[in-house]
């Protein structure tokens, strides 16, 4: 006689202290909920980036409150501002110093495409020198837009296939 299981949640009394899942899913879940940003604040957009970290918008709700000014300790570079050609190589070098896995958010029109600076001094989009995962439109984008981009990035991280394989082969 089999009684249908009506339990919708995990019941430790019946199944014990065990959760069954895939390693990939766990690692992705861990990664996506503690993305430590590397604030690459280059112009006005950085002000909105700072606002995102303040109590009003509270980026800590998404596990990203630990802004690290050392690339070694950061997972996600947030390029917030105008990337001049003079600054571009430094952005690339800081990106190179970040440990894998790493992601990039291009925040605002300038970082995404050069924005209104169609001039001899401005790199026309930071994706010319580093791979970008999420672009945010706006000049500047509101903090909500940055949080939205962060959620999109978390989505992307959770959907990453073969995480364990990549880790073992690294």
């Amino acid at each position: 006689m089999v009684t249908p299981n009506t339990e919708l949640t995990y019941n430790t009394k019946i199944e014990g202290d065990i959760v069954v899942t895939r390693v990939d899913a766990v690692i992705n879940w861990l990664r996506s909920n503690s993305v430590w940003p590397m604030p690459m604040g280059l112009a006005c957009c950085a002000i909105e980036l700072m606002a995102s970290a303040s109590s009003r918008f509270d980026i800590a709700r998404f596990g990203s409150e630990v802004f690290r000014f050392s690339p070694r300790q950061a997972d996600c570079m947030i390029v917030a501002g105008t990337v001049t050609y003079k600054m571009a190589p430094h952005v690339r070098r800081i990106y190179d110093q970040m440990a894998e896995p790493k992601w990039v958010i291009a925040m605002g029109a300038c970082a995404s495409s050069g924005g209104m600076y169609r001039s001899y001094a401005t790199l026309q989009g930071v994706d010319k020198i580093i791979p970008v995962d999420v672009y945010i439109s706006g000049c500047p984008p509101r903090p909500e837009a940055l949080l939205d981009a962060l959620i999109k990035l978390q989505d992307k991280v959770t959907r990453n296939g073969g995480t364990t394989k990549q880790l073992l082969s690294a």
């Binding site: 190589p89 070098r93 020198i129």
Partner: protein
């Protein structure tokens, strides 16, 4: 300070009298605002020093330059603005550079330490060399950049050159590229209540990089 006792900003005639005594070559320059004078470029430091000691112009506001045109001769003029913190007025001194290809002007860092960065900027963007400057390096563009971007013959979009860091240029394959103008330069419409309309945009959007500007325009 031995500023003349008269209150208020120094007038053109007063300053002309001060300058004419020491620099007979001084000429009054047409102006829309402050008194302005033209001087031979070599006499400028001495003239600024005189204005500082005689007329109370104790503050160097600005050094810049003008590129009149590629064909013009003299092509470059250097402009100095002084301000008097006691008499609350400005004076403008303008001098033509002798050479149209290698323009130079004397440095006034010895008079005002603040002239240092102004002169570096004028050198960087206009290519005026300031003789006797203690450290005449570029200040905005990177060392080794081959052009002077505010000259009339330099296009706003820029000219292709390697990135400042050759190694990064090699890894990324990126270079300093002329910026797409897409019918620009981009200007915002002021007084526009609709923010979408007010966004900076090209005044003439009928041409861009892929469809050339018609010759008739």
């Amino acid at each position: 300070m031995s500023a003349t006792a008269t209150a208020g900003p120094a007038s053109e005639s007063e300053l002309l009298a001060v300058l004419q005594g020491a620099f007979p070559a001084v000429a009054v320059r047409p102006t829309g605002d402050h008194p302005a004078f033209k001087l031979p470029v070599a006499e400028v430091p001495a003239a600024l020093k005189l204005l500082r000691s005689q007329s109370g112009f104790d503050f160097l506001t600005d050094i810049t330059a003008v590129d009149w045109d590629v064909e013009a001769s003299p092509r470059f003029s250097v402009v100095w603005h002084l301000y008097s913190t006691t008499r609350l007025g400005y004076v403008r001194i303008v001098a033509d550079c002798l050479s149209d290809t290698e323009p130079t002007a004397p440095s006034v860092v010895a008079l005002w330490a603040g002239a240092n960065w102004h002169e570096r900027e004028t050198f960087d963007l206009m290519g005026i060399r300031f003789t006797d400057h203690p450290d005449l390096r570029r200040i905005l563009m990177w060392d080794g950049y081959p052009f002077h971007p505010l000259r009339k013959d330099f296009p706003l979009a820029g000219i292709e050159t390697p990135l400042p860091d050759l190694e990064v240029g090699e890894i990324t394959g990126a270079t300093v590229k002329p910026a797409p103008m897409m019918g620009g330069p981009f200007v915002a419409s002021t007084g526009e209540m609709n923010l979408t309309e007010a966004e900076p945009r090209a005044k003439d959007e009928s041409w861009h990089e892929r469809s050339e500007k018609p010759a008739t325009l």
